[in-house]
Symmetry: C3
Subunit: 204 residues, 3 copies
């Protein structure tokens, strides 16, 4: 189980590192700063979560995360340099996968730390969304999160599915997979059909 | 007393959530991201304060803050949608109220945690100013804080008044109200008459 | 030794406060916000480091840092106001000095806290780079860190030199000075000859 948890974490980390590299390329960045951007994107959300929960930050004693990030950056830059242009779509899909992994891992970690349900779900949002938010701020983009398309709410949905799953006695692995699929499918649907929730009535 | 503290906190939270919603509207944002922006604005300063003080983050075990934020966002969006255009002035005044509440609550919390006076006053600045600073960064605005008009210094003034009040044996409630009025009146005066402190001699 | 550590820390703090003031001037900021920007730049990296390491934040019980910041801001604004225009070069060189001091101090603090070597070196990067990164984000600049010129990697080099020095039994003071010179000379060389590492093959 802990093994599985760790692998899921590594996949989420690698996927977000890929999105950081893609944004760096879109923004014409270069140099070792690309690795920094990928790293901040990959570990940003989980770091903020752990600091707020006041538990040991997950990467302090585990260097595998950095190897995953380095590998992800290396492979992504190779692919980009071969293929020249990468559709923006790729970035959004990779981001959706990262979101799905991290929203659930964040909710889970907060529940294990004894947090109430609502706080656990918010921790899922922080873990899932904050790395990408920091990435977009550093790249001087308006964070995807704030653009109107279903985004944070897909993390909340995943968090609720996981919390309910555990509450009703589902196996942890099953609850995790169901919750990840919830976030992932909602987010991909939102990208594909540009589903937005309207809060304001802007004149067209 | 603890009751009063909590109510003051909730008011500050709600007021900052309103400013987040107003900025989201000005910036043509939409969707659930508006709630995220309002939330980050409302709890950002206090979260940074608690993390730096290494005390439990105030909202981890208290969900009332999120209900206050949701209510504030709901009412504000309703009003905006009815009235269509909201003067920028409204945002600044709401921000001033949030500043006044949070500067004092932040100073108080740091003093209760046994911090020296200067640190407590800086914690007031962090609590008061950082939520709005994060809000402005996410909305890609230059933070109000950095625009030259009296801003952070009104938090410092409130923090000093509170610290002196406690030092000279004033009742906590009285010191709080006096300090809040100090920050609020200074900030509103600065908005009204555009009072700035000049640090640089820019050529006109 | 602790004395020396503290003095090195104060110099790093003052130097970063100077860069904050220079950026504020370049960006036509004014008012007390300049002091806030200088402060955030100066203590930002170390604060993030201490929060992630979960050790007491270095400035909570030591007010000398704020006096150093105030002195640096005062002197820098004086000089700017006398001389009117300051070449951008000055900012980069001051930033390089801050980087050199903080990369080493950050690595050292993490090693003393019992962190593994890789984590300690990353803490050096965080301490050295994050204050300037926050400064640039607040000023709506693309962080120097992400511009392709050798930057974060000079902190890594300094951190490695320090870690190796300690590992091979060098006196702490000697390891510190060697490591600082490594970061400083690499960074200044990068500024002077615009040395960049290429990660992407952008068409010219």
């Amino acid at each position: 189980m802990t093994e599985l948890y760790h692998w899921f974490d590594l996949i989420g980390i690698a996927v977000f590192a890929i999105t950081g590299t893609l944004v760096a390329h879109e923004k014409k960045m270069d140099g070792f700063g690309v690795v920094v951007l990928a790293t901040v994107t990959a570990i940003g959300g989980g770091t903020v979560r752990d600091v707020i929960l006041d538990v040991p930050v997950f990467w302090l004693h585990d260097q595998s995360y950095f190897y995953a990030i380095l590998a992800a950056v290396l492979i992504t830059t190779r692919l980009i340099n071969k293929q020249k242009s990468i559709p923006h779509y790729t970035l959004q899909i990779a981001d959706a996968f990262g979101l799905a992994f991290f929203a659930v891992m964040g909710t889970q970690k907060a529940l294990l730390a004894g947090m109430p349900h609502m706080t656990a779900i918010i921790m899922g949002v922080i873990t899932g969304c904050f790395g990408g938010m920091i990435r977009d701020v550093l790249a001087r983009e308006i964070p995807m999160l704030l653009k109107g398309e279903l985004y944070a709410i897909t993390c909340i949905a995943g968090g609720i599915v996981y919390t309910l799953g555990i509450y009703f006695g589902l196996a942890t692995e099953l609850a995790m997979v169901l919750a990840m699929l919830t976030t992932l499918s909602l987010r991909i649907a939102a990208i594909k059909w540009q589903i937005t929730v309207h809060v304001f009535n802007y004149p067209d």
